[in-house]
């Protein structure tokens, strides 16, 4: 019973779309340009092509499967919505501007339904309801895709940031430095630790300096991560020096009761570098001739 009525309703919608395609299209585009004035991001002709193509796909899907948006017959229409949302998300449209693509079709569609069924209030209500359901489903779908695209962008940026933020620099033969900027969480510690240990092997360095000048706060978790890195480097046969400990951080470490006694800590990178040179038996001497 239910499916029959959906078929009938979907059929009504599809016949309206077929008969009044041009009217709906014109009104839709007018509606859209009124609600979202993003001529800066998208030309009028592009919008028109998208709209007419989408109406066409909608019409085909309606004939094949009625107004059930999840049906396989809607695949093509869904795919097109997918692409539209994705490209708009990347172009910098807002979520509501993206969803407007679908929702601005409501008024023209409803107008046509009203004029087609003006003698049959029962059918008018039924058709309006099924059209609303369909458009809402499409609107939600665009928003969902939009969200996913944005999340994807954010995730990619996060990964790039993670890679950018862990450079291992060679200060001298056998001395590496790892300036850490930003808060250390477990994921970053893993990357930091791996890149440092890898660099120790590659450059055959005996001393590694971890500079935490750029770390805003050191809590027990961060300290534990630092200690892990130091221990791993020690296991491989390299000495670790932690430098750039600011006075507030020194106070925090003591108040938290973190034991850093086994680790060499220095206030500045310069002091740590000096210590590292000492350990390698190197020394700088001022050239007195010049």
């Amino acid at each position: 019973m239910n499916t029959v009525s959906i078929d009938k309703r979907g059929h009504g919608l599809s016949s309206i779309l077929t008969r009044k395609e041009q009217d709906i299209l014109a009104e839709w585009i007018r509606e859209m340009s009124e609600s979202t004035r993003r001529g800066d991001l998208m030309g009028a002709s592009e919008i028109k092509t998208q709209c007419s193509e989408f109406l066409h796909l909608m019409q085909q899907a309606l004939i094949a499967a009625g107004s059930d948006f999840q049906a396989p017959a809607w695949d093509k229409a869904r795919e097109m919505l997918d692409n539209i949302s994705k490209s708009r998300a990347l172009q910098g449209f807002s979520p509501s501007e993206t969803a407007m693509f679908v929702f601005s079709a409501k008024r023209p569609l409803f107008n046509q339904i009203r004029s087609a069924f003006k003698d049959d209030p029962e059918a008018l209500a039924a058709e309006t309801w099924s059209a609303t359901e369909l458009l809402d489903a499409m609107g939600l779908y665009t928003t969902e895709v939009f969200q996913k695209t944005r999340e994807h962008v954010i995730k990619r940026q996060q990964e790039e940031l993670l890679e950018l933020s862990t450079p291992v620099v060679k200060l001298w033969d056998g001395i590496l430095a790892l300036p850490i900027i930003g808060t250390l969480d477990s994921a970053r510690t893993q990357v930091v630790m791996e890149s440092l240990l890898q660099a120790i092997v590659q450059t055959n360095s005996r001393v590694a300096i971890i500079d935490i000048t750029g770390v805003p706060t050191v809590d027990t978790v961060v300290a534990q991560h630092l200690l892990k890195t130091v221990t791993a480097a020690r296991l491989m046969g390299a000495d670790c020096i932690i430098s750039g400990v600011r006075p507030q951080i020194a106070q925090t470490i003591v108040h938290l009761g973190i034991n850093l006694l086994d680790v060499t800590t220095k206030a500045t990178l310069a002091a740590a570098f000096k210590t590292a040179l000492d350990r390698l038996g190197l020394n700088f001497v001022r050239d007195t001739k010049s």
Partner: protein
């Protein structure tokens, strides 16, 4: 049964682990090594684990045990060439191996052993 060879090099013993360690192998290495240290009166043990890629807590603890046993027999232990992945694994397992000394490669390890043996004095071995 496969065995890990132990080479005598002057007053040091050299162990190169080139196969995946399993528990029985680790135990037999421990036996052989302690026996050889007391037989040869070695002053230092150098364990090269540069081709060891997988460790578990048992193997990790074994390194600690070997170092402790050698110290009782008056020999220093240096572990050399640990892979980054192995180091991370040991740290994550909570094994900091505080009694074990380590070096980046065999060269650095030998240097460390010589320095520690000379630093401790010759203990009447000057006649050699």
């Amino acid at each position: 049964m496969e065995k890990i060879p132990i080479l005598k090099m002057g007053e040091f013993l050299l162990v190169t682990i080139q196969v995946d360690m399993h528990d029985r192998l680790a135990m037999s290495l421990q036996d052989d090594l302690t026996r050889l240290i007391s037989e040869t009166e070695a002053r230092g043990v150098l364990i090269d684990i540069s081709s060891l890629e997988i460790v578990d807590s048992f193997i990790g603890r074994m390194f600690g045990n070997i170092a402790a046993m050698s110290r009782v027999l008056d020999a220093e232990t240096v572990v050399v060439g640990m892979q980054p992945a192995v180091a991370i694994t040991l740290v994550e397992l909570g094994l900091s191996l505080s009694g074990v000394r380590s070096a980046l490669n065999v060269d650095a390890g030998m240097e460390l052993l010589r320095a520690s043996v000379n630093g401790k004095g010759t203990h009447g071995r000057s006649l050699d």
